[in-house]
């Protein structure tokens, strides 16, 4: 579906994407995980065939975006990071008018629009202005709009950024249903839980490059331990205490508000810490996540 080799994007002197190789296969949910400014959105806009490639090779659905842009875009669904819904139009018209841009006839457009309102669970808002929708509804409408042409490939740029937890779960459920229906999804996100929930395979991006690639499970196995013991001490004590616990796990990370001790047996770490007479204010043992992978690979946290 997507094949990129040595893909680059630069804006003047600034290189947003510095040569990445990506392969996305039919039917999979593929993720670009990385902090803001990692080059995810630039990559996404090149894949969406609206931003010219600065270097390397890119093929979407077997076509070259430089020459077949309109043909590629006709088979893509794009859910941009910022809502680009037409606030002057009703919810229904947003879908209908958009379908017309793809050259879909009027009757089919109306029918598709009704189906998609149903899918997005906003049928009762059909006649409402976009302005009156909640953030979650707007997002769902944007996704519904991106499906108007029955796309082979759906691109979602930060689909749940800015949504409350409940709205995120509704959205995840819908994306999951699309995935089950066989739609190929490409998702960028800086939320590791989102990447874990939705992606079969993903690349971790940092500073315009790919730092690692694999399924969420593979990445965690390869770059982190099974469990993590989180220890919270008083403000400013973490750096000093890190030295006293570093032998308890494979690795220790010092964050401003806590220590992370990486070990396959988190509970044992906590017990050993207490045995040494250290008194953390709070402790938590959890499984490793992609956040830990990212921390390991880049030395920084994801969502700062």
């Amino acid at each position: 579906m997507i094949s990129a080799r040595g893909l680059r994007k630069s804006f003047g002197d600034f290189e947003a994407v510095k040569g990445i190789d990506v392969e996305v296969r039919r039917g999979e949910a593929f993720g670009f995980l990385g902090p803001n400014g990692a080059g995810k959105s630039s990559t996404m806009r090149m894949i969406a065939s609206v931003s010219p490639v600065s270097g390397g090779e890119l093929r979407i659905l077997g076509m070259d975006p430089a020459t077949d842009g309109p043909a590629i875009r006709g088979r893509l669904g794009v859910c941009p990071q910022e809502d680009t819904l037409d606030k002057e139009l009703s919810v229904f018209d947003n879908l209908y008018i958009y379908g017309r841009y793809f050259g879909i006839d009027r009757a089919t457009c109306r029918e598709r629009a009704r189906e998609l309102l149903e899918f997005a669970q906003i049928t009762d808002k059909a006649k409402a202005k976009v302005e009156s929708l909640s953030g979650g509804m707007k997002r769902r409408l944007t996704i519904a709009r991106s499906l108007i042409n029955n796309p082979d490939l759906l691109l979602l740029d930060e689909p749940t950024t800015g949504l409350d937890p409940q709205a995120r779960h509704v959205l995840w459920d819908q994306l999951f249903r699309l995935k089950q229906a066989g739609v190929t999804l490409v998702i960028t996100t800086h939320y590791m839980d989102e990447a874990e929930q939705l992606c079969d395979r993903l690349v971790v991006m940092d500073k315009g490059l790919i730092a690692a690639e694999g399924s969420p499970r593979e990445l965690i196995d390869a770059h982190s331990t099974r469990e993590v013991a989180e220890l919270r001490f008083g403000v400013g004590e973490h750096e000093a205490i890190a030295g006293k616990v570093e032998d308890l796990g494979e690795r220790v990370e010092v964050l401003p508000d806590r220590l992370l001790v990486y070990s396959d047996h988190g509970e044992d770490v906590v017990t050993a810490v207490l045995d040494r007479g250290l008194q953390p204010l709070a402790t938590l043992v959890r499984r490793s996540t992609l956040e830990d992978v990212f921390l390991r690979l880049t030395g920084r946290r994801l969502a700062d």
């Binding site: 804006f11 969406a48 609206v50 931003s51 010219p52 842009g69 309109p70 043909a71 875009r73 006709g74 893509l76 794009v78 941009p80 910022e82 680009t84 819904l85 037409d86 606030k87 002057e88 139009l89 018209d93 209908y96 008018i97 958009y98 017309r100 841009y101 793809f102 050259g103 009027r106 991106s146 042409n149």
Partner: protein, 254 residues
């Protein structure tokens, strides 16, 4: 273009009321105030009024031509910035098989519909005042006004597509539209400006439109001059169109 028809129809549906006031009522007020009431004081000497038999007959073709410019400019300023910056309509449209060229064409098509319909109504309303010399002149005059609209719509679209802040529009209106309206021969013969400024006026795009529109309305047509005017306005339109597509393409590329 056809794919964007339904979209622009919805735009028309929600904006036509304001358009009626701006496009039809305002110019009528001008005709009454400038043409009838002010013009009543002006003794028409056909030699000094470029062939018009009365000041009303002189001012009407110029007013409609400058009105064409005003509509073209106002429809290609804030709405263009809105589609880029505020509503992001262009970004949404560009995610579909439509190309930048298609967006520009449909947008300009809508602007030109506005210009053409407003000028047509203006000319029809004026007809009973007996200011037109022939029946065919006003039709060619109307086409001239449409041409004025094309030249300004494309050039101003190109300008707006580059603009990041709306302050640039204030500049355009104050240093562009208003001086052009006042000094391009719409209200008085440019011969009154004196030899130097008269030549400056001759270089402005609006003067070509005013002169064209007036020649056809008063029925004294110098065909070689017509050719010059048409070549100038068509050239500006072509250049403006290329710049509009190029500038919007660069703007949306990022």
């Amino acid at each position: 273009m056809a794919r964007q028809y339904d979209y622009w129809l919805t735009v028309l549906k929600r904006t036509w009321r304001g358009g009626v006031v701006g496009s039809f009522l305002t110019p009528l007020l001008y005709v009454v105030a400038m043409g009838v009431l002010l013009g009543g004081f002006i003794e028409g000497d056909p030699d000094r009024l470029e062939g018009a038999t009365s000041y009303l007959a002189f001012v009407v073709p110029g007013l409609v031509a400058s009105h064409a410019m005003t509509i073209a400019v106002s429809e290609s300023t804030y709405p263009v910035m809105g589609a880029i910056k505020w509503h992001k309509t262009f970004y949404a449209q560009l995610a579909t098989p439509l190309a930048v060229r298609d967006l520009v064409n449909a947008f300009l098509g809508f602007v030109m519909f506005r210009v053409a319909s407003a000028c047509a109504v203006f000319m029809l309303v004026i007809a009973p005042f007996g200011v037109f010399a022939t029946w065919w002149g006003p039709i060619l005059a109307w086409l001239s006004q449409v041409l004025v609209g094309f030249a300004f719509a494309t050039l101003v679209f190109a300008y707006s597509a580059r603009l990041t802040s709306e302050e640039g529009f204030g500049l355009l209106f104050r240093l562009g539209v208003i001086p052009l309206t006042l000094f391009s021969g719409a209200f008085f013969p440019i011969a009154n400006l004196g030899p130097v400024l008269e030549w400056v006026a001759r270089l402005t795009p609006l003067w070509h439109g005013v002169s064209l529109s007036r020649m056809f309305c008063v029925g004294q047509v110098d065909w070689s001059l017509v050719l010059l005017h048409v070549v100038v306005l068509v050239s500006l339109t072509v250049v403006g169109w290329f710049l509009a597509v190029r500038n919007l393409d660069r703007r949306l590329e990022v």
